[in-house]
Symmetry: C2
Subunit: 355 residues, 2 copies
């Protein structure tokens, strides 16, 4: 029996995780699997209950589980507190503790929503890309990261650090993913300025030699930010370091018409994975039963695929999401101004209907 740890977190987290769980239960029933769920605390909810954003019991529960599904963390309630106990520290902490170095963010265009995007439909048609973001290195974790005197004045320093082995393994992840897709890897860096990017590029070229069947290309991050809008179809797998990946994947979310649809997976090298929607905790609508559960549900589909190898079940959920959208179901974030959206629960029911 597979054990799934649920980390509802803050804001709309608990609502969407509850709905994603319902979908997983309905898949379990339809395909005769047994999933066992265990809830644990993270983020602001964990701070409120225990004084820290990532309690040891949560890490322990995750380490002994088969997969983790997370809602969202953070909110204004915890914004002003000391930075060492911010909710985000829980998210960064769990990534680091579980060594979840490979963040996969697929971006597809949902046909029924193609007119909702700020981009023109003709630019969007056929877009299907995967951003592979390094998640446990770079500026996010480099030391020193501190206030200090610089040339005799008040100043500050952050440090971008990578070990070559860290670059290698994430680039391998990208090449492996490309093999199952269109066979193209684009490595994004800022090699005309940063030494870390030059090592990144060299390493990508080196690793690429082991994949003669996959095409490797390079692009500067500023140009990539432009090309993602200009012609998103040109991309297959995009691999990049932590902070560039953070920026580019949020930008790319606009391609799909809504950030409310996008799932992500964060994997370590032992096959453990944490799955979470790309969107945040949306504290303004928390508890109102109006949040869009689809990104959380799509994250559950990624969980089935990547952690349990249940490809058919994953496809079933993805198709069910698309069917619900084709049938016109829309939560508020997707509804046009004239129509009122359906509730979080109703949207989930619509998905479950076709499972």
């Amino acid at each position: 029996m597979k054990q799934i740890v649920l980390l509802p977190g803050d804001g709309i987290g608990p609502e969407i995780i509850r709905e994603a769980r319902r979908v997983l239960e309905s898949v379990a029933q339809a395909y005769e699997h047994q999933f066992c769920f265990k809830e644990a605390l993270i983020g602001g909810a964990a701070i409120d209950a225990t004084g820290q954003p990532l309690p040891p019991e949560t890490i322990e529960a995750c380490l002994t589980s088969d997969a983790i599904l997370l809602g969202a963390v953070g909110g204004p309630k915890w914004d002003s507190i000391d930075s060492s106990i911010r909710p985000e520290k829980g998210l960064l902490g769990i990534r680091k503790e579980l060594n979840l170095f490979a963040n996969l963010r697929p971006v597809r265009v949902m046909k029924p929503l193609i007119n909702e995007s700020a981009l023109k439909p003709e630019v969007l048609e056929g877009v299907d890309l995967l951003i592979v973001r390094e998640l446990t290195g770079g500026l996010y974790f480099g030391q020193p990261s501190e206030r200090r005197t610089v040339d005799g004045e008040d100043g500050v320093v952050d440090t971008l650090v990578y070990k070559k082995s860290e670059i290698k393994r994430i680039v391998h992840t990208a090449f492996e993913a490309a093999r199952k897709r269109q066979g193209r890897v684009l490595s994004v860096d800022k090699a005309n300025v940063l030494e870390s990017s030059r090592l990144w590029r060299e390493t990508a070229i080196e690793v690429g030699k082991e994949y003669p069947d996959v095409l490797l290309d390079h692009m500067l991050v500023d140009n990539a930010a432009m090309q993602l809008i200009r012609e998103p179809k040109q991309f297959d797998v995009v691999v990049t370091e932590n902070l560039f990946g953070d920026i580019l994947s949020d930008e790319a979310s606009m391609i799909s018409g809504s950030i409310g649809l996008l799932p992500s997976a964060s994997l370590n090298d032992r096959g453990l994975g944490l799955y979470e929607p790309v969107h945040g905790s949306a504290p303004d609508i928390a508890g109102t039963n109006t949040a869009n559960p689809l990104a959380a549900i799509a994250s559950a589909a990624m969980l089935l695929e990547h952690s349990f190898g249940l490809i058919e079940e994953a496809r079933t959920i993805e198709t069910a999401i698309e069917t619900a959208l084709i049938n016109g179901y829309r939560t508020n974030d997707l509804a046009s101004d004239s129509k009122k959206g359906i509730t979080t629960i109703e949207m989930t029911d619509a998905v479950i209907q076709s499972i």
Copy 2:
């Protein structure tokens, strides 16, 4: 008599700078000014002639000039050479030598080109924003930036450094600019992760107190990358650190339909300014008389406004650019597939016509 140093640089640089000069000369004639031009070397052209991307004579010429107009630097010819003498080092070097810390990148939507953008016209209407990018600090210049052993393995480090005084002065630039515009400053950072961003945000708030007439807001860089696409009209002045500004301003260039239109100004605290198109050196079309000269011409307009205080003359150039576009003149980058674009020289003639 005002002295302008021209730095044609590489690729299409020489062609577009020659055309921008023609426009400046026609303005000088129309308004009875005297501009004197002096050419100097930078980038790959300088490497070829002198062995270094920024010869001392170039720095000397710039320091004794009233303003600088630069074309573009870089190209595949110099891509494989040792990183210490890359063409880009010339650009980074001149920014640092002249202390050009304030990079202004205005993004407006050109009505006649509103249908050329990948974004929908309704998203673009009314967009008029200014990105104020810090240009001489952060990861671009921080030390150490080197290969080194990390935990006993091959690794690399780059350093993001800011002095508080550097943050202060660029934030002041943004507030001053906002006063002449819609009175709103958005400071973009990654304060939920980076210590440097937390100092950035604190400093922005502190400086903001001196501008009670200007509204200050904050946004995380990942969200900003998204919002620039989702609803670009929401922005007035956006101020951010060097690398975030590099990425966001190239992304924002997509709003205007073409990077071939966008000018930039880089200013120091003594009023000296370097003006350059946002686009690169486009080596593939260099020497073919097909490059779009409008970004270089618009940069010349910014030069007249910011370095010489010639506001009317600057507006005249900007209106002439728009008129040329309204009249249907298009270089290849703007022409639809069915029509062949006009030449670089013809486009400039079209602009000069209405001066």
